[in-house]
Symmetry: C2
Subunit: 434 residues, 2 copies
């Protein structure tokens, strides 16, 4: 059996950490790729911001340009790889490439979460590929399984640890009792967090990924602005200790869940710190690792685990897409992402979940009864309770049964009005194994 | 954007648990699949052994036949799905279907491990798909990531818990201290083990899957007969306790590992019980769940976790392949599995790994020195040792540094000759996190 050889030329937009790793990987794996797939992949153009910067990459200096349009418009380029990030000018460059009939591989979650649908449609019209495995959970193959293996599966919920920075911080806070600020500082020192960590710690990065995952898992239009977001900045080492004592850990989860409100199907997409039972596979995802947990009626539980970021892991994901796009060129085909229908996004107020609730109260008889009564009046029933005495006050820790978010929030407001309640402490949603 | 609709007719070989689940899933998901992919999938023929058996499946009775050739040869069938299992007559039927230009989806690990290469070549020649996601680790998408996402990745090792029966038995033995025979009985009661459990407990089922995974991960020809196999029948609850005390658990792992012996690349493919550190993600794979752990130079560590068997999860994997094959028909394409080169399979004697070794000895001074001397003479160096006194004897527990399997086996033989050694107890290979 002899394999037909095909030459594919690529143009690279951006040559930072991921771009550099990709060029190295392509160089090292050239022979192996040729042997396994019949593809001869050549780099023909690379756009960079600063042409004068010296770069230690295994390609000729003459291939660099500081004009990204040259990459996109070059007749010599079959596949465009975008690893610059950001919305502008990536959006325009990718659109142009697709219009010119070039397949595109991108790692740009921000762009896809904001303008994915427009770009998917453009790729479909031009009959080319738009692949983006690296945009969510770095090296973990999750996009392809969602697009292909699971496209016929009735998925009910998908939950992911999709931000390595926050998972690293929470791991440090949990394992070493570090306060948030100290853990963040360590993450910054190690290069896991940026000097302005807002996008990570406030959950916006995870929200962009949640939107992409939700679109693919449920075949519906979801953009970042549909995602309810809470970050991890309020979490304390004490919360983590409490969680642990109750057999849980705390993880920042991106969740997309099918809901059925009065017979109408809707989707609740959210990012928030969640209590996860220690026996759940997501609980064992430590440090900066990522994982996506998929629940389907037929497939059961699936989990995909791996490196969510970093030059080499991300380059590996980009290379997988590049080979896929190149194979499609070889066989004059392209992968369809299918059609996204519009889907009702339900507000977080409609969510039904269990809650962890910490209330500080006066330490005197009858207090628990009063608190329990308020919860009961708002249809929040208690699954378990622990009380601990502080100096002149007491701390009540509740885990509730499933309750409606709007009921629960109303209960919190009512509790806050009670004379005997000194303060409402930490409130967390609890992920069950059901 | 309106999607072109395409009708695809399928023929099903076999209608047991997986076939029945697949027919139900196709029926329930018909609309969703049409909407997402534009595919109208119809079942046109189903072959069964016993036509008189009543079946509760959502298709017409008239579609059943007891002649599988009719399914394969029917001009109405575009894609053949084989869920009968066994080598004969599946091999002949699948070959015929491929020759006739029909794509094939199969869950038959035994057949692929024995005759995969011949069938892959046939599919390639005919320009059709031969897809088999369900053949390894049931519902877990591992074949597609290996064929596509990771085809350019320099994979160094792949380790899997790919047999749910033995993982269930080991979990019971570990968590509840059950002896092997009792755990096996419980697995049989729950339907996790067959009445003749040999293929599972002796590791042959895992070996077939190891061969398939190794072929795809390393692009080399590997068949079941290349796989070194040890089962779990000799493992005792005591071994599991020891392992736990040393911070490990015991899992039956299928391992394919790249080795470099004197500059020549080779592959060591094996199935045996292994000691796995409790902090390793594979250690948390409990009950009948499966998982595949992939280590690559660029991608880092990846793990894929999910249900390894069962009608519904397996049907979900078959459906993913079926949609893939159908999409390829729609775009007149097919997935190439690439070319497998011949690769040197290194014997297990060339393996370098760490070992757990239990030796029962006379309880008198100087014994440890004698045992340590024998190990040292055979280039086996000790990483840690524990001694415990029994009645008139003592038990020595060693974990070694990496040693050559042939050296280690020679050391065992020499130890067995020592007067002071009463018996060699459990010997296990230890997986490191390195």
């Amino acid at each position: 059996m002899s394999m037909e050889q095909v030459n594919v030329n690529i143009g690279l937009l951006g040559c930072g950490t991921v771009g550099t790793s990709l060029l190295e990987l392509l160089y090292e794996q050239r022979e192996a790729i040729l042997q396994r797939t019949g593809l001869e992949i050549d780099v023909t153009k690379v756009s960079v911001r600063d042409l004068s910067k010296s770069r230690n990459v295994p390609i000729e200096q003459s291939l660099f340009t500081d004009d990204p349009k040259q990459v996109v418009e070059s007749a010599e380029v079959d596949v465009v790889i975008e690893v610059m990030g950001g919305i502008d000018p990536s959006r325009e460059l990718i659109s142009k490439a697709l219009e010119l009939g070039k397949s595109v591989v991108t790692a740009n979650k921000e762009l896809l979460a904001a303008h994915g649908e427009e770009l998917y449609a453009l790729a479909e019209q031009s009959g080319v590929d738009l692949l983006f495995e690296a945009a969510v959970a770095g090296a973990i193959p999750i996009i392809r399984p969602l697009r292909e293996s699971l496209v016929g599966e009735p998925i009910t919920r998908i939950m992911g640890i999709v931000n390595g920075t926050t998972n690293f911080i929470l791991t440090k806070m949990s394992d070493e009792g570090m306060p948030y600020a100290e853990a963040l500082e360590e993450a910054q020192k190690l290069g896991y967090a940026e000097s302005d960590p807002t996008a990570d710690v406030e959950g916006h990065d995870a929200a962009a990924k949640a939107a992409i995952i939700a679109s693919l898992a449920f075949g519906g239009r979801v953009s970042s602005s549909d995602v309810y977001v809470e970050g991890i900045t309020e979490i304390t080492p004490e919360d983590l200790q409490f969680a642990h004592r109750l057999g849980h850990c705390i993880k920042l989860l991106a969740i997309a869940e099918k809901q059925d409100s009065n017979g109408e199907e809707s989707l609740c997409v959210r990012v928030h710190p969640s209590m996860v039972p220690l026996s759940h596979p997501l609980a064992n995802v430590q440090e900066s690792f990522n994982a996506i947990f998929v629940e389907g009626d037929s497939v059961g539980d699936l989990m995909f685990y791996g490196r969510g970021a970093g030059g080499q892991p991300t380059a590996s994901a980009v290379l997988g897409d590049l080979i896929d796009a190149s194979c499609n060129i070889k066989r004059s085909s392209s992968a369809s992402i299918g059609e996204f229908r519009s889907i009702r996004i339900s507000p977080v107020a409609d969510l039904e979940t269990r809650y962890f609730l910490e209330v500080e109260v006066d330490d005197r008889p009858g207090v628990l009864a009063q608190v329990a009564a308020v919860l009961g009046e708002h249809n929040v029933s208690i699954q378990s309770m622990e009380q601990e005495g502080l100096e002149s006050e007491a701390r009540l820790i509740f885990i509730t049964h499933k309750a409606l978010e709007s009921d629960f929030q109303a209960a919190i407001d009512a509790l806050d009005e009670l004379q005997i309640v000194r303060s409402i402490g930490t409130v967390l949603r609890v992920i069950g194994i059901d």
